[in-house]
Structures are given as structure tokens and as C-alpha cells.
């Protein structure tokens, strides 16, 4: 494996980590506020379809992005109504949202485009184009640093940079702002927030809305940047890998980034090598596919440090009698 191959694998790691990272941060906001979300997958899928559909019709990827975010936020709102307003089971609501997205996207795609549940391929302004970082061309010939800068760091779509900037931003919001303090409090002990005169419902809806926003960007990235259009079930379990990464990261932003990079790396390797040969030991591609899930189970099992979720997670808030 030469240096250039390595650069290529890392480059593809970054591309593949981006949707995971956005979805993972989305889940982080929701779950730190005490609302479990296993519907990340559905929201991403819905956003992927609407962003691709609107981008295909209008030719504007930015309108597509907005449409994707809007679609994802509608589903997030539905989750909020079920989980917060009507105090329903958050897990069941998440399951329902995943199916809703899986069904509706194909149904609408078929109705609008008649292409067997996909959107037309996006071209030109319908896609996010790679951004070239300053001096990329100039630095490219420099050994080692040149390829790292020009190939690995430069040349991604703007959403990639956005996703990685969202990591410090999320950390800052959670730990340095009033909103973050209240958000974390409502995930630990909503009664404390309520008796302090702050609306539990309002905070949780805000968290769920942020979750919708980030899932929307994640979905739009999938359909308009990573690929050129929507195809049926194109999220392919990424929402669940993001969930796995969230647990792996123990609900912390910086750790979430590392977890997503790790899982993205696994995907990149699996994509490049069908069967990976490490010193005579052949690792079948299926192992690479399953590894994120296996690692998450190991983390959940507490053999490698215990993952303790926010204390009020999954529980609807009911005032005590």
C-alpha cells in the first residue's frame, strides 16, 4: 500500500464520514436533551430525496439543500409531537419515522419522476462541487505535505467543511452557552429545568429541530454531493452507524468526530478492497461491513469503558404527582 493509495483511502474516509458525522451530531443534540432518536436514518433519507428532487427540478443545489432540511425538519417535528407533546414511546416513534421515510420517498419519487423510485441524475448546478482550498495547486508538488493538502484536505464540497466545523461549534454551544447548559440539564433532570422556570417542551423541541436541521444537511450531502441523485434506500443504514458512533463517542462532540472518522474509514476500506489481505489473514468484506456494529455492541457491553447515556434519555417528562 503506497502513500498515494493511503491518501486516496483517507480522502474517501472524509467523504464517507461526513454524512455520519452530521447525523451523529444531530443525534447528539436530540439525545443530550433526553429525546432518543433512532429515526436519524429516516430523516436523512427524506432529506436526500427532497434535496435531490428539488435540485433536479430547479437546477439549484442550494434550493435542494433547503428542501432537504425542510423535509427532515418536518419528520423531526413529527417525532417531537409524538415524543414530547404526546409523551409517546420515543423508540417506537423513531421506528415509524424510518418506515415512513422509506415508503414515502419511493412513493413520491415514482409519482414525480416515474423512474422506479429514483430522481433523475443531477448535473451542473444541481450538485455541490468540490471546493479548492487556497494554494492547493501551488502546494501540490511539495512532497508529503503537498498531497495531504491538495488531495486530502482540499477538493471536498462545502458541506464536508461545514460538518467538521460543526464539531467545535457543537462543543461550544453545549458547554459554553446558556442554551447548552439548559439542553444538558433537560436531558439529565427535566424537573430541575421545569422548576427553574424554563420550558422543558420548548427546549426539547429546539433540540429536536437542530437534530432535524443536521439530518437534513446529512441527507442533502448524500444525494447532491456524495452521489448525483436519489436512489431508493440510499442511506443504507448510515443513520444507524451514526447512532452507533454516538454511543461509541459517549455523547460527546469531539469523540463523535473520531468515531465517525473510524467508521468512515471502515467503509472506505470495504469499498476499495473486497477482501482485505493483512499478512496472509484474509478479512472478508462482510466483516468490514459489520465492524461498526460489532464495535458498538462491545462498547455498549461496557467491556471498553461504559457508555452512560443522559439520565432522562428516552423518558417523556411527566410532572410528578
Amino acid at each position: 500500500m503506497d502513500f498515494l493509495t493511503l491518501i486516496q483511502i483517507f480522502d474517501s474516509t472524509i467523504r464517507l464520514s461526513t454524512p455520519l458525522l452530521l447525523a451523529c451530531l444531530a443525534g447528539l443534540f436530540s439525545e443530550r436533551a433526553g429525546v432518543y432518536d433512532i429515526g436519524l436514518e429516516g430523516k436523512m433519507l427524506m432529506a436526500a430525496f427532497f434535496s435531490a428532487a428539488v435540485a433536479a427540478v430547479t437546477g439549484s443545489v442550494w434550493l435542494g439543500l433547503l428542501a432537504g432540511i425542510a423535509a427532515s425538519m418536518v419528520l423531526a417535528g413529527l417525532h417531537g409531537v409524538a415524543a414530547i407533546t404526546f409523551r409517546g414511546n420515543q423508540l417506537i416513534s423513531g421506528v415509524a419515522i424510518n418506515f415512513l421515510a422509506a415508503g414515502l420517498t419511493v412513493l413520491i419519487a415514482q409519482d414525480w419522476f416515474q423512474q422506479g423510485g429514483r430522481t433523475p441524475s443531477l448535473m451542473g448546478g444541481g450538485r455541490f462541487t468540490p471546493l479548492s482550498l487556497p494554494l492547493a495547486e501551488t502546494l501540490a508538488p511539495v512532497p508529503v505535505i503537498g498531497p495531504i493538502y491538495a488531495e486530502l484536505l482540499s477538493g471536498h464540497s462545502i458541506l464536508v467543511y461545514l460538518a467538521f466545523l460543526a464539531v467545535p461549534a457543537s462543543w461550544w454551544v453545549l458547554n459554553r452557552t446558556r442554551f447548552g447548559l439548559r439542553l444538558r440539564a433537560v436531558g439529565e433532570n427535566p424537573a430541575a429545568v421545569d422548576t427553574a422556570g424554563v420550558s422543558v417542551v420548548g427546549l426539547r423541541f429546539a433540540a429536536v429541530a437542530i437534530c432535524g436541521l443536521l439530518c437534513g444537511i446529512a441527507g442533502a450531502y448524500l444525494a447532491t454531493a456524495l452521489q448525483a441523485g436519489f436512489v431508493k434506500d440510499m442511506t443504507a443504514g448510515r443513520g444507524f452507524i451514526a447512532l452507533a458512533a454516538l454511543i461509541f463517542a459517549k455523547w460527546r462532540p469531539w469523540h463523535a468526530m473520531w468515531a465517525c472518522l473510524l467508521f468512515g474509514f471502515l467503509q472506505a476500506v470495504a469499498l476499495r478492497y473486497q477482501n482485505l489481505d493483512i499478512g496472509g489473514l484474509v478479512i472478508p468484506v462482510q466483516v468490514m461491513d459489520a465492524l461498526p456494529y460489532i464495535l458498538t455492541v462491545v462498547i455498549l457491553a461496557g467491556f471498553v469503558g461504559k457508555a452512560i447515556p443522559p439520565r432522562a434519555g428516552g423518558e417523556p417528562y411527566v410532572k410528578e404527582r
Binding site: A96, G103, V106, Q110
Partner: protein, 364 residues
Amino acid sequence: MDRMPKWADVVLIPLISLILAAILSALVILGIGEDPVAAVKMMVSGALGSTYGWGYTLYYATNFMFTGLAVAVAFHARLFNIGGEGQAMLGGLGVAIACLYVPWPHWTLALGGAAVLAALFGAAWAAIPAWLQAKRGSHIVITTIMFNFIASAVLNYVLVNVMRPQGSMDPATARFSETVHLPTLHELLAPIGISFSKAAPANVSLLVAVAACVLVWLLIWRTRLGYEIRAYGHSETGALYAGISPVRITMIAMLISGGLAGCMAINNVMGEAERLVLNATEGAGFIGIAVALMGRSHPFGVFLSAILFGFLYQGGAELALWTSIPRELIVVIQALVILFTGALDNMVRMPLEKLFLSLRKGRA
């Protein structure tokens, strides 16, 4: 006092939820420019208008009874088993092994043997998440989701690298032998003079599924183990107080649940495909969630809602065949049923409770 009469809780709330889901589904059909009334007519005639339709409806219903019961049993112990899909996949592997590597003399023995192996494989796949929940407190919802993905990777590996016959490009096992062929409803009913469609896949597994409904009912409501499962489901501290081991109940409930999900394979793998293919489960494990929620985790309710979903599946397939409505409509309906009967239960329940309260006050 209870806030509502029992019949309202058991019948009225699911019915209203179902009607709400139906109304929204109709709107979806309208939205894509089709006529919901015509669609329903086509679904009814396609799914129930012929023995062919019934044969498919009941075939799907058989799958959903197994997976619905699986979810329901776990629900009674307050465990949310989303892993029915993976457990059913592994059940398929068990059936394939039983059917391919054991020279059964007769289908009855094969059915028994395959069912046992299917249940064992399904239970084994549920056992790890169950043990992790019971001993390490790992959230079973997340672990069972993860195990679904791991199961599909396992199945993929086995079908591509191990069980695929030489020379075949298809990631599937060889066809099972003729002796393990399960009689279809056509073959079962013909001797007693009822003619049933030859082409439909409903088979003797349906009877096994119905028997499973009865057995689960006995287990949950009439045995000591069922008493302990329900007690644990209502209150873990209560179970500890009564000397009911949470670890034991978690394990047993999940093993039964996984076993039931695994048993689905005798229907779809042994009864229909007669070989193991990739994605043999076709999401039936997830439909079990909707079926159990709709059926209020009661075996009789599961039986009824499994048939309802069987009807939806077959009806939906007919729609996809004759109109421009894709099969995914069923997925939407399934989502709406889960949403209304599961997550939005309180939306229906709270106004109803108020209504009954004011009725009672009015009478008093």
C-alpha cells in the same frame, strides 16, 4: 377507578388509531393522483377475492404471526426486541442447514427438526443482546438493531462463501429436496374436498403459527412463567422483591422471542422459497413491531393484526401490479400504524379518557 372501561382500551383505541392511519393512507393515495376507493376495492379483491389471494394473504400473515408474537412476548417483559429481522434471518440459516444436511424420511419430521433448529438459531441470535441487557445493562433496542446488521453480514458471508453451490452465481443455497416440501393449503384441503389455489404459497406453517398463538396465550396468561414475565415487565423492583430473577426473565423472554422470530423461516424459507436466499425475510421482522403494537401484545390481537397486515401486503402487491402505486405504499401504511398505535397512543387516549370521565360524571 380506571379512567376508561376495558373494552375502550382494548377495542376502541386500536380501532380509532387504525382509522386515523387509514385516513392518512387514503390522503397519500389521493396525493399521488390515485383513487383511494378504487385502490381499496382492488386490494380487497386481490387479497380476499380468490383462494389465490387468500393463499398469499395467509402466507404473509403466517410470517407476521411469528414475528408479531416475538415482539409481543418481549413487550410483556418490557423489552423492545427490534431484532426480529436478524433473528428470522438466522432462523432461515437453521432451516437451510436442517433441510440440506439431514436426510429426513418425511416432511413432518423435517418440519419438526427445521422448526427446532430455526428456533434455536433465532434464540441464539437474541441471546447475546439479552445477556448484555441482563448482565451489562446494554440497551437492548440498540444492540438488537446492531445485531440485525451483523446478521445480514453473516448471512451474506455464508451464502456467498459457504453454502452457495459450485458454479452458481446466485448468493443462495441449493434447492431443498422434494421430501422436505411442506404441503400447501391446496394439498391439505384437497383431500377434504375444498379446492384451494395451487399457486398460492400458504402452507402447513400457518397451522404452526396459529398453534404458536394459542401456546403463547397459555404461556403469558396461564402459566407461572408468564406471570413472572408480566410481573417483571410491570416492575423490575417488584420482581426482585418477589424473588423473580431479572436476569433469568430477560434471558427467557428474549430466547422465546428470538425463537418465535426464527420459526418464521419454516414458512418463508422451507414452505415457500425452498432454499435460502439473501433478504429472505423481506422486512417481516419489522412488521412484527406494527403487528404487536396493533394487537396490544395479546396473541389474539396479534393473530388478527397479522391477518390484516397479510391482507395489506397481498393487496399492496396487487396494486403495484395493476396500478402505478408502488409496493412502498404498504411501508407507509405500516409506518402510520406503528405511529398511531405505538407512538401517538396518547393522542387518541387522552381525549377518550376525558370523554369517559365526563360521561361518568354526567351519570353520577
